[in-house]
Chain length 376, copies 2
C-alpha cells in the first residue's frame, strides 16, 4: 500500500491524493459511508458502487465482533468476502463504541471490560485484542485502540487518558509486528491523536503519533459535542504537526460544511453517520440546501428529489413521493433518502478534489457553504 | 383492454393467457406483488422490473386513501405517476382492509363506516365511493366493493352478506357507467364471488357475478383461515361457473403449492402478502425448499442464497450473510429476502405458464410440490 500526494491547493492546505490498497485506489479527499454491522443500512453493495460512488466503506469492530462474530468472519475469509464488497474497508478499533456504553464498561491500563448491548455477555478488549480482531475482520486500514474522551473533559483526565492512549498505541504496533494479515492482502494501522480540546495536549499527542511514522494518521475525540470553532482549531493545530506525505483521517466528522472546512486544513479522509442517520429521519442534504422532507410544503411537490443529484433516485422519485414514504414509515423511503444523502456526500468530496486539482478550491468552498447550510 | 386466452393445458384446466392493458401486457398465470401504500415494502420500482420481473403490482385503496390521500394522488396524475411505475396496477376496493379493523367499523346496506388506524378519523365507504376513489388512484384493474366474510362464518350470515355484496356490485357497475377514467387510460372493474365455504352460496354467487359479463372475475373470501381442502373445493366449483374467456383472479392466495393447485383449476391471477411478509421474518421460498434463515444451520453456510435463483441477490449474497442481517434487524436483510421471495413467486408462475403452453403442466406440478413444501 502507498499514498501519493498529487497536489496541494495554492490557496489553502487542501490536498488531492491517492491511497493505493490491495482492494483498489481511494481518491482523496474521501468520505467513507458507515457500514456498522457489515452493511450500510438499507443500501445494496452494488448501489454503493453504482449510485453512491463509494471508494471505501467503514465497519465497526465492536458490532462485528458481537455479530456475526469472529468465527463466522474468519470462515468466510474476512469481511470483504462475507459481505461481497471488493473495494477497500476501514475498521475502527471498537474503542469508541465501547465507551458509548457508559454504564457497562470499565477502563483500566490493561484494557476495557464491557457488556454486550445485545445479550449482556462480558468481554475484554485490549490493544492486542483489538489488533487480533481487526486481523480477523480483515479491513485494509485498521485503527489503533484508543480512549475517545467525552466533551467536556476535565484537563487532567484528558491528559492521563491521552498518555494511556499513547502507551496503548505502542502495544498496538507491537501486536501488528507479531501478527500477519490472514487473507493475503496488506493491512495498515492508523494511530489516533487525542487530547480533547486542549492545545498543548493535542500538540503533544500529534507529535507522539507522528513519531511512529505510520502509513496514515487519524484525529479522534472530536465531533463529540464541542463547538465547531474548537473542532476547527484542534484540526488545524494537529494538521500542522502531522506529516504532509501521509493521509490524515478526521474521525466521525461531520456536516457538509465541516467537511469542506477541514479539507481546507489538510484532512484527507472522513466518516460520519450523519448522512445515513439523518436520511432515516427524512433530512436530506441537496444541491439547493437542506430539506426536511416531512414538512407539509413538500406534500404536493412532484419535482425530482434533487434535480442536480448524481444518483438515479434523485431523478426517479419526487419529493412528494419520498415524503409519503417517510411519513408512512416505509423502508423504501429510508433506502431512497440514504442513497441520496450518501451520494451527495461523495459527490461533494469529488467536487472538492476537482477544485483542489484546479487550484479553485477556496472560492468554490466559499460559494458552496451558504448553499449547504440553507434550509429549504 | 382485452384478454387473449392462448392455451388450455391438455391435462388440467390450467390456462395461459395475456391481459392487454394501456400500461402493457400481463402474461397469465400471474402473481401480483402487494404494494400496499404505493410501495412494495423495501423494493425499488426498478428492482420490481429487473430483479422480480413483476408484470403488475397491487395497491390497497384503504391505505392510499388515508395516506397520501386523494388530493395528492390526483395532483400527481394518479398512482402510476406518483410512484413512477409505468406497468399495470390493480387496486382492491378497500373493503378487505376495513373489515380487518374489526373493532372500529360498522357495516350497513348503504356502506361501511370506519376509523382510520393512523389517527382515528371517521370515514364512510360506499360502493359508489369505492369506485370514485379507485378512479382517482387510477389503477388499470379496479375491484368491486364487497364484504369479505371471515372464517368460520355462519351460513345465514354468509348468505345475507353475499346478497348485499351482489346489490353493492350493481351499484359499483352503475357508478362505473356514470364516471370516466381521469388520466386518459382505460380502467376495468372486476366483480367478486363470495359465499364463504358453502357450495350452494358459492354457485349462486358465481352465477350472479358471471351474469355481469365483466372484463374479468375475482374470487374473494378465501385464504381467510379455512383448510386448504375448502379453498380448493370452492375455487374449483367457482371456476366451473365463471366464463372461460375472462381472466379469473383468486384474491389473497397463497403458498407456492396453493398457486400451482389453483392454476390447475383455471385461476389466472393471484396476490398475497406471504412472500414479502415472510421475507421480513427470514422465511425464504427457494428452489430446494423452505429456509428459515434464522436457524443456526445457516450460520456458516457461505453458499449463494439460492443457486438456481433468478434474481441477482440470489448470487450476490450468501445464506450466512443474509442470516446475519436478519438476526441483526438490518433493513438490507429484509430487502434481499423480499426480492428473493417475490422473484421466486414470479419465476414459479412463469415456469407454470411455460409448462401449460407445452402441455406438461400436471407432471411438472406434481414433481414441484414436494420440493416446494420441503423444509431445509
Amino acid at each position: 500500500m502507498h499514498f501519493d500526494l498529487k497536489h496541494t491547493d495554492s490557496g489553502s492546505k487542501a490536498r488531492a491524493g491517492e491511497i493505493h490498497t490491495d482492494h483498489g485506489v481511494i481518491e482523496t479527499p474521501i468520505f467513507m459511508p458507515v457500514g456498522t454491522a457489515g452493511t450500510v443500512k438499507g443500501v445494496h453493495q452494488h448501489e454503493l458502487k453504482s449510485e453512491i460512488n463509494a471508494d471505501i466503506i467503514l465497519g465497526n469492530t465492536y458490532h462485528l465482533f458481537l455479530r456475526p462474530g469472529l468465527e463466522v468472519l474468519e470462515e468466510a475469509g474476512g469481511l470483504h468476502k462475507f459481505m461481497n464488497w471488493d473495494l477497500p474497508i476501514l475498521t475502527d478499533s471498537g474503542g469508541y463504541q465501547v465507551y458509548s456504553l457508559s454504564g457497562s464498561r470499565k477502563i483500566q491500563e490493561e484494557g476495557v471490560k464491557f457488556q454486550s448491548h445485545i445479550n449482556g455477555s462480558y468481554h475484554f478488549f485490549t490493544p492486542e485484542r483489538a489488533i487480533d480482531i481487526q486481523r480477523t475482520i480483515g479491513a485494509d486500514i485498521i485503527m489503533a485502540f484508543d480512549e475517545c474522551t467525552p466533551y467536556p473533559c476535565e484537563y487532567n483526565y484528558a491528559k492521563r487518558s491521552m498518555h494511556m492512549t499513547h502507551r496503548w498505541l505502542k502495544r498496538c504496533f507491537e501486536q501488528m509486528e507479531r501478527t500477519t494479515p490472514k487473507y493475503g492482502y496488506e493491512q495498515v494501522l492508523f494511530p489516533i491523536v487525542q487530547g480533547s480540546v486542549y492545545k498543548d495536549l493535542r500538540k503533544e499527542s500529534a507529535e507522539t503519533i507522528a513519531s511512529h511514522n505510520a502509513f496514515g494518521n487519524a484525529i479522534g475525540g472530536l465531533s463529540v459535542g464541542e463547538p465547531a470553532e474548537e473542532l476547527y482549531e484542534m484540526t488545524d493545530l494537529v494538521c500542522a504537526v502531522l506529516p504532509t506525505d501521509k493521509p490524515r483521517y478526521l474521525m466521525g466528522v461531520g456536516t457538509p460544511e465541516n467537511l469542506l472546512e477541514c479539507i481546507a486544513m489538510g484532512i484527507d479522509m472522513f466518516d460520519c453517520v450523519m448522512p445515513s442517520r439523518n436520511a432515516r429521519h427524512g433530512m436530506l442534504f441537496t444541491s439547493e440546501g437542506i430539506i426536511n422532507i416531512k414538512n407539509l410544503k413538500w406534500e404536493k411537490d412532484f419535482s425530482p428529489l434533487d434535480p442536480n443529484g448524481t444518483s438515479a433516485v434523485d431523478h426517479l422519485y419526487s419529493k412528494a413521493y419520498l415524503r409519503h414514504l417517510i411519513k408512512s414509515n416505509e423502508n423504501l423511503g429510508i433506502q431512497i433518502a440514504t442513497i441520496h444523502n450518501l451520494a451527495f456526500y461523495l459527490d461533494l468530496v469529488k467536487q472538492a478534489r476537482k477544485h483542489i486539482l484546479a487550484d479553485t478550491f477556496v472560492s468554490w468552498k466559499n460559494q458552496m457553504i451558504p448553499k449547504l447550510n440553507h434550509r429549504l
